[in-house]
Point group: C2
Chain length 459, copies 2
């Protein structure tokens, strides 16, 4: 499967120019990226050209060497077309069209025919009933969402059972400023399973973090084995849905998947070393942290603030969820008390009060003391100045100090505007930046859960 998603050339069957048709959006997606391979369009009902490329009337007419075929035609025509693609030497078929397993017995038979044709020619099928895939490292957008051509390249890859949720996850990743390597919408999984893609991404040097969106899995045992293998190599984060009544009947109609008991499933994933999370936002927040910070070893953190409330909120969430906020020893407290005002608090959370924003180098000094402390394995810093438009924070001094200690450091700002402006600067120092104390707290909790899960997996 190594080069399957790195094609030399792509042909799109059912390329169109009629507004809003999947075949039109697919053309726009393919041609708006940076893909340097050849792109061909096939449509027996059209002549002339689309996007400066001639329209071929049949797959047989195409030049040799096309390895990927994208299908945006009605389901009943696909088996025959797939046969032609096989004859032509195709290795991967991406089938956008629905109308297969998810619609009942007739569709199930049609999908079985697809599988037989694919087996005959040793082809792999992405879909049917899927949104395709994206590989940013070769600028390939083989989906029907043109917006994916603007994805920032980066270390995260996504495998999603739902194109819609896959899109939402991408939106949240962009929001926190982290880029994407590969994105797969698996649809009905005619012959490419979660397990296959997990193993592929486990070996993919461009992928550092894997995100899964699951509505149910047919082949649980094979999936869990692949998940365990992959999770031993790099972090695997999962979002689950579809385990309640209405959700599962919709999932069944969606990709023909049955969901087992959610509790059993979560426990199996945990044992496989996979971290299950609660929302696309949480997945993005944790991915950002994993892409930047030093390994999270122990669940003991320091909290440093100029305003107690956010630190209290964070401490509450951390302590309720197994992350300690240990009281500092007397000597460390004394050292900190020398720097912060008498009205402040040095016990942990450390509250510097206004000194923090009036003389922000205090952040560097106090953090340096905290990170030296053995009882503190990581640090969360809250920066909420009263005029949050100006970045007075001594970012480089802070970054250099933090880098010396090689412990994870996270930062929370109150202001979305500043977040967007500053997240890259912080990322250069390997410090992830968040908006609210609740979100940064959830990240600490989840990093600590992940460390625990992976540790258990090793014993």
């Amino acid at each position: 499967m190594k080069d399957l998603f790195r094609p030399r050339s792509v042909a799109m069957i059912g390329a169109s120019q009629v507004p809003f048709k999947v075949g039109t959006l697919g053309v726009e997606a393919l041609t708006s990226g940076q893909f340097e391979g050849s792109i061909y369009f096939v449509n027996p009902n059209r002549e002339g050209s689309i996007a400066g490329r001639p329209i071929y009337s049949s797959i047989a007419d195409l030049p040799d060497g096309v390895d990927t075929f994208v299908f945006a035609i009605p389901p009943r025509f696909i088996p025959e077309s797939l046969e032609e693609a096989g004859e032509k030497g195709g290795r991967l078929a991406v089938i956008f069209s629905g109308g297969f397993k998810e619609t009942g017995d007739e569709g199930r038979i049609l999908e079985e025919r697809l599988r037989q044709v694919a087996d005959k020619w040793s082809m792999k099928i992405m879909g049917p009933n899927c949104l395709g895939f994206v590989n940013t490292s070769i600028g390939l957008n083989a989906s029907f969402t043109p917006a994916f051509s603007r994805l920032l390249p980066g270390p995260v890859s996504v495998i999603t059972q739902s194109g819609g949720m896959g899109n939402i996850i991408l939106g949240q990743l962009a929001e926190v400023g982290i880029g994407v390597s590969k994105w797969f919408s698996v649809g009905n999984r005619a012959n490419i399973e979660f397990a296959d893609l997990l193993s592929y991404l486990g070996e993919d040097p461009e992928t550092k973090i894997i995100i899964l969106f699951l509505e149910g899995v047919d082949d649980g045992r094979r999936f869990l084995t692949a998940a365990r293998n992959t999770a031993s190599k790099k972090p695997v984060l999962a979002l689950l849905a579809g385990y309640t009544q209405a959700a599962s009947r919709c999932a069944l109609s969606h990709t023909g998947s049955f969901a087992v008991s959610e509790r059993i499933y979560r426990e199996a994933l945990r044992q496989a070393g996979v971290l299950t999370l609660e929302s696309a936002e949480e997945v993005a927040d944790v991915s950002l942290a994993l892409s930047l910070i030093f390994p999270w070893r122990e669940s003991k953190i320091g909290l440093l603030t100029t305003t107690a409330g956010p630190a209290i909120v964070t401490a509450s969430i951390c302590e309720r969820n197994g992350v300690e906020v240990p009281l500092l020893g007397p000597s460390t407290r004394k050292e900190i008390e020398k720097i912060i005002p008498a009205e402040g608090y040095a016990g942990n959370p450390i509250d510097m009060l206004a000194t923090g924003w009036a003389d922000p180098i205090t952040y560097v000094k106090v953090s340096d003391i905290l990170l030296r402390e053995e009882a503190i394995a990581g640090l969360i810093v809250f920066y909420f100045p009263p005029r949050n438009i100006d970045l007075m924070f001594p970012l480089n001094e802070f970054g250099e100090m933090a880098a010396r200690h090689q412990k994870p450091v996270l930062v929370a700002y109150g202001d979305r505007f500043c977040l967007k402006r500053d997240q890259e600067q912080w990322a250069r120092w390997k410090i992830p930046l968040y908006t609210t104390p609740e979100r940064v707290a959830r990240v600490a909790v989840n990093l600590s859960r992940l460390a625990r899960i992976r540790q258990e997996g090793c014993t």
Copy 2:
């Protein structure tokens, strides 16, 4: 207390021009708003003028009729200054300075002196150790956060024990596009308690929704009585923190508050009709919905989508938390099946597939059928077109249709950019707009929790 936060004139003691001093930020805050009353500055150590206004050397020198005094001077000078303010006829003192109850016995004694002086002159004290207050309806920013002068006026009022968390809540409210009426940072609550402000806001015609951030309450019984009274008049939403070990020792150092057991406290609030929530984001999301939609009566909702995943995620969250997603009756299903493609699903969640964005008037038609159905008390619509930059949604037709049914309707988009652009248009039709299925699902769950809590309160 009715006119206490609607002063005719404000004097600031400790007005300064030294960068980053609270007295400087306070000047900036006061003068950057639209306040039409008089503003005076007092500072015995300075001469000349600040922001075009003369500096008075003492409170005694001020013209008569100043009703609000804002203090940004060291704590030890405050009792005497407060005495002068009382003599001058002051009714409200806003004390930014810390160094009182939260710092130990000495501070406690100093704070007791404040209370005695205030009692003597029948003055009320906001703080000490607080961020002040804002009243957008008179353009008054009596805080030391100049950014608050740009707050959008609106129906939400906030009472916060932490200036920092209060600031974060304001950020999240702005993010979802809802405005603010009053904002109070209570600090140490020398003689203005949560109960007082709750009762005041309960009667305030400009306030439709109340948000509380609590780290602990000294006078639980009085607070819960006021909460019950107020919650019977308008929705009261609460965020709690500070009930774990590190969090509570920091809360004690912060505003000198002891927290009782969190579980007991949550239950007491529930019985009082107050909805406790988990994050500033959730508080903002629920406030937006409460400010717009028709009352949430029954926990039975319809979900309408063009892509199953987000609806499945929402159904999962709803069903796990007491909101039904009922299967539609055969006649309604048939009606819907006539409109949506055969590969779609009409059971609820309703999946229209690509038809929804290729021919978006389908949203209006299907929603009209759904909202007519008795089994459906509210509707969530998911709009995730493949090119989410263009708003092809027939917003006005949809809005008119929804208004006829007088049932709550919520919408989720995938794209933050479009959200910002469109939220006002949707709000005009009383439809709140959210980014992710998880957030819109949590809103449905919380509205349904609130309806249940308030119903129980009535029986």
